[in-house]
Amino acid sequence: MDAEAPRAAVSWENGTLAPVDHLRSDRADSPTPGLVEGTEPGAGQKSAMFVRAQSFEDLTAESEELIQREAQLDKPIESAEELEVLVGEKSIEEQHNNDVASENRTKEEDVSSEAWRSHRKHVFVLSEAGKPIYSRYGTEEALSSTMGVMMALVSFVEAEKNIIRSIHADGCKVVFLAKSPLVLVGVSRTCQSDKELLRELQYIYYQIVSLLTLTQLNHIFQHKQNYDLRRLLAGSEYLTDNLLHRLDRDPGLLLSAVTCLPLPSSTRDVVSSSLQAAKAKNLVFSILLAGDRLVTLVRKKDQFLHHIDLNLVFNLVGSSSSFREGEGWTPICLPKFNTAGFFHAHISYLEPASDLCLILVSTDREDFFNMSDCKQRFLERLNKRSAYQSLKEALKCPSYSVEQVGIPELRHFLYKSKSSGLYTSPAYPVVYQTDEEQERLMGLYQDLHSRLHHPTRPLRSLYRCTESENLMAWVTSGFELYLCFSPLGTKALAVSAVTKLLKWIRKEEDRLFILSPLTY
């Protein structure tokens, strides 16, 4: 489908829309948004809330495997044939493939059925001993020999001092990610690139680390290589299931960003300062969520939260109703902060039926009652200043419609401010009401994203026409923008829409973004 889709790359000279040397202080005077980092609409005024997140390179850059792979980039293994070059013996590789097939057929009904095979995306996690840890579909027991074969493939290529990255065959991509002591394998029928799939596997890896810490994982497998990790992960499968579901649907995970609840800045300031005042010695992060939108985040000075860690927290809270019973108190590892240890999170809803969930992250596991006290103090302050009422008011419309922007033919967009790590996006319009349609739109965005961030041929901008929509994407050092127009849109219209949209976002940025993040 890639080849058929007519598309053209359009690029702008820097500065067509605004001078690049736009200074932060000019922000109030000029409605024209800046293109460079720190001056784009939504950029924080003081310091960033998050670890510097240069979109998704950040996610993959530090993985050792990738650095090694970078060296081989000139000859990526992109088909079974090319794998031959690396492996040397194609026959063996084919034999393995046959094994997988026959193995599947002789297994329990569920995993040998056509329905099981035809899932769009499978994800498997195994130990380096080849023991199954997680499978998105089917039971791990039934898949133990399949996973054995996967491990055999990994070790076989490793024995030749090489790394298996992917196998492309029969409309299927098989992507491998070795993160000792775990191996993650994705099998996809989607048109996502290897890099996108790898990014998703990274997320799954971090999800597992967040439950156990890397130190504990290493410790376990050093002592007992064939340990069955499912014992320790029991009951957490739905967190991984849910994360995979979000990866298909949530723009935040694609953009490596989070979105905020639209809120008048005066209200947000009061909420933030109330949270700031409710501090404690060991409190590192206070996070207030409304569903899967950020209301505010207050952090300890000099401590930054990584967007991956924050997205894992979103996933934890969003997946479980367990925090509605009472005040939750759970160990949590924030792998991008520190893979070695646990933080302890006090998680509770402000009211039993409310969407507002407060997460207080402490370094001390004995801190429950201190955190509980912080929550009480926060609530008292919030009530005193009547900000609570306006916050609840804002909850009634957690999103905005694209019509508010006033650009004809514009159906939907994603805008990420790179320096703040926050994105904004309108509600899905009527044409994308069903889950299926929303996932299809996300698929289109994913495609644009992977083209912009192509490892060897990155693009600055892209215009693409498909049968059902016209799409445009643009990335500068300050922001990433993805737009979806109706098929009636034209390229000229799209180009003028960008200026208009950026101006609109600049005008609304007080409400859509957190411009002045606070620290304790």
Partner: protein, 203 residues
């Protein structure tokens, strides 16, 4: 907002999916949630005032996760607890083994903690006797051996749930009384038994 004072720390222990959360949910919110099973993550804390005679006693109930993953953390939940409700599933014999483990753990580490052995999902076995895997008398014998109270409850119907927590509160009340008459000196270690919050942790 007034400070909530917790008199007695109560901890729920037992294998995963035996129904600890459902038991708390039934007792505190008088409801039984039907739907897919959801594990507790870490632990959940809820304070519940209960009338004992003329006094009101607030139980601070720690509903812990049954998953092995959190086992290393369990000590912080049962330390200083005045009562532990050790749950097992009447239809699952392995959960009784797990209950024995918790009893041993408590006997070793928390000798002042009173143990309440609680067989859950009684509605299932009263519907179909063949589902019962733990004999009432075996459990009763075990309870007597370790000096524990024994209950069989159903969170679905509410059967015996209030009685269980009422007993916990009454026992606490009478032991607290004994405690006060017996001990005249101040035991600083005992501070952990009653937590005050919203009043003395301001930094």
């Amino acid at each position: 907002m007034s400070a909530i004072r917790v008199d007695a720390k109560v901890v729920m222990l037992g294998k995963e999916s035996v129904g600890k959360t459902s038991l708390v949910e039934r007792y505190v919110h008088h409801r039984f949630l039907v739907g897919p099973y959801q594990n507790t993550i870490g632990a959940a804390f809820v304070a519940k005032p209960i009338q004992v005679g003329e006094k009101v006693i607030t139980l601070g109930i720690w509903d812990t996760a049954g998953s092995e993953r959190y086992e290393a953390m369990s000590r912080i939940y049962y330390r200083g607890a005045r009562a532990a409700i050790v749950c097992y599933d009447l239809t699952d014999s392995s959960s009784f083994q797990r209950a024995r483990f918790w009893v041993k753990e408590l006997q070793n580490c928390e000798e002042h903690c009173k143990i309440y052995l609680c067989g859950t999902k009684n509605d299932l076995v009263s519907g179909d006797r063949s589902l019962r895997q733990i004999d009432y008398h075996d459990a009763q014998d075990f309870a007597e051996e370790i000096g524990a109270q024994h209950f069989e409850t159903s969170s679905k119907t509410g059967n015996n749930v209030d009685e269980l927590f009422q007993k916990v509160a009454e026992d606490y009340n009478s032991s607290a009384f004994e405690y006060m008459t017996e001990e005249t000196s101040v035991d600083l270690g005992q501070k952990k038994d009653s937590y005050f919050y919203s009043c003395c942790h301001n930094n």
